[in-house]
């Protein structure tokens, strides 16, 4: 396998696109990445799309708007990690030597969905019994609070931090500060999860152009190396010792660290799955940024703020940007690329050389979770 780099990334603003079609939204995300890479669509040899709710052949539907048809195209659905998975497929196809340049994009229109659609597949047993994603994460959160004595103020602190970071990011949907009291007093969604602990429903598209490293300098002076891109899926729930610790995120991260030859201390900036505020505290522990049970202390120490020891979700995270499922994973990768190229403006992590993107999600009866993707990027 040869080395592979990202030579361009792009994203639409995440928000509400009621009158824009899925194809057009995806095209805008992909065009932004093509422009960033400074390449022509005809250089693309393979396309992969990440999407959950859009239906058939999204890669083809978007690509035809770019003037691309007839080449190899793949469509992946992997819940919240759909974009991370699309990125992973193109990474591997280019690493294998089969293609030199590929396009990975994610696109999603969430704002037209009804709350009842934030659920597992129609035939899923737990889904039929009333499982929605806010409830799924509330059940995990309650065990987490109970096991480690994490306070609601510590959980709310994640929303406060990420919304603070969102104020620094032109791509964020929410650009206003909130307080711990506002988070805790907002409308109850699935107790103990209140509205301001939830990411907003959002439309958006993000894309990345992936190229063999030995050819990357033809197109850009600052390619970003893909040090690891790992996808794993949830194990049986009965094998899991404790709901308060995601073995899935942990095993995916450990494999990514192994592939990259790096550890948690080497990560300068991290974008992780904060669909609900408590997720972020648990992921600190599972990704190895602190010991199990120490997530509450880590947010209180402000070490995950911009300027801290391990800045997390300096983009504002899903809590500020919103969470267009298929797009989110590549949106995170775009943020890490901007950080490593020192193009992140007011939210720039000084001297960042290694960055991580993490997505996890999806529910299937009997399994811990659906899918997880961890990507580690490194400045060359």
């Amino acid at each position: 396998m040869r080395k592979v780099s990202v030579i361009g990334v792009g994203s639409t603003l995440f928000g509400r696109y009621k009158d824009v079609s899925l194809e057009e939204l995806g095209r805008q995300g992909a065009e932004a990445a093509l422009e960033d890479a400074g390449i022509d669509p005809k250089d693309i040899e393979v396309v992969c799309s990440g999407n959950v709710y859009g239906g058939m052949c999204t890669a083809q539907a978007v690509s035809k708007e770019l003037g691309l048809a007839g080449l190899e195209m793949l469509n992946v659905e992997n819940a919240c990690a759909s974009g991370s998975t699309a990125f992973n497929f193109i990474h591997r196809i280019v690493a294998s030597g089969e293609c030199d340049i590929g396009l990975a994009f994610g696109v999603e229109k969430m704002t037209a969905l009804k709350p009842a659609q934030l659920a597992p597949a129609d035939s899923d047993l737990d889904g039929r019994m009333g499982l929605l994603f806010p409830a799924f994460f509330a059940l995990i959160m309650r065990r987490y609070l109970d096991k480690y004595g994490i306070s609601m103020e510590q959980v709310a602190g994640v929303s406060v931090k990420n919304r603070h970071h969102g104020c620094l990011n032109p791509y964020a949907q929410y650009k206003d500060e909130i307080t711990i009291d506002e988070v805790l007093n907002s409308r109850m969604i699935a107790d103990p999860i209140t509205l301001l602990q939830c990411c907003p429903n959002t439309d958006g598209a993000s894309a990345a152009i992936i190229c063999a490293t030995d050819l990357a300098h033809k197109y850009t002076s600052d390619p970003v190396e893909i040090a690891a891109s790992v996808i794993r899926s949830g194990d049986y729930q009965w094998r899991q010792k404790e709901l308060a610790f995601s073995d899935l995120t942990n095993k995916t991260a450990l494999k990514a660290y192994e592939v990259a030859g790096l550890g948690p201390r080497d990560i300068d900036v991290c974008e992780l799955h904060d669909a609900f505020a408590s997720n972020e505290l648990m992921h600190y522990e599972e990704l190895g940024f602190c010991e199990p049970g120490e997530g509450g202390k880590l947010i209180e120490s402000r070490e995950t703020y911009l300027g801290g020891r391990i800045p997390v979700n300096v983009s504002g995270g899903l809590l500020s940007k919103g969470h267009p499922l298929g797009a989110s994973g590549i949106g995170q990768i775009a943020e890490i690329v901007w950080q490593l190229r020192e193009q992140a403006g007011k939210r720039q992590v000084e001297g960042a050389k290694v960055g991580m993107a993490h997505m996890v999600g999806g529910a299937v009866t009997g399994l811990e979770s659906g899918s997880c993707g961890v990507t580690i990027l490194r400045k060359e």
Partner: protein, 138 residues
């Protein structure tokens, strides 16, 4: 057990009955002695097929719970859901949790399974199935 209750079970394959009542049907692996729900064709631990259908205990403890304020396909808010860890088998079942207004629920609370009305289909059928409530509610 009233006949219409039995007739309108949302997935009859999930249930079994002894002489007295409907119970959840699990699959027990004769080799590694683990029990699973919903029933399976192959043991996910040792991969043996030919698992033995086994009635599961109707008693358990509440593992986690949440009251949901947004509608799902089959339930109008507010409704409470949770995981119940069943006695003996330790199988964890996701279910609706029902309790009286003046009752509070807690992790570790003893629960029992009830067969009753779950939701109405668009054609008006009153679909039945399992839910859990705190022991000693009635």
């Amino acid at each position: 057990m009233r006949e219409d209750m039995r007739k309108n079970l949302f997935d009859p394959g999930l249930f079994t009955e002894d002489t007295r009542a409907l119970m959840l049907k699990g699959s027990r692996c004769p080799d590694c002695d683990k029990t699973f729900f919903p029933p399976r064709g192959r043991c996910p631990a040792c991969l043996k097929s030919d698992l033995i259908p086994t009635p599961l205990s109707t008693r358990g403890t509440l593992y986690s719970y949440t009251t949901v304020n947004i509608p799902s396909k089959n339930f109008k808010p507010p409704y409470t859901v949770g995981y119940v860890e069943l006695k003996n088998s330790k199988v964890r079942v996701f279910s609706q949790i029902r309790f009286k207004e003046d009752q509070t629920v807690n992790i570790g609370m003893p629960m029992k399974m009830v067969i009753g009305h779950l939701w109405d289909e668009p054609d008006g059928t009153k679909t039945t199935g399992y839910y859990f409530e705190p022991e000693g509610k009635r």
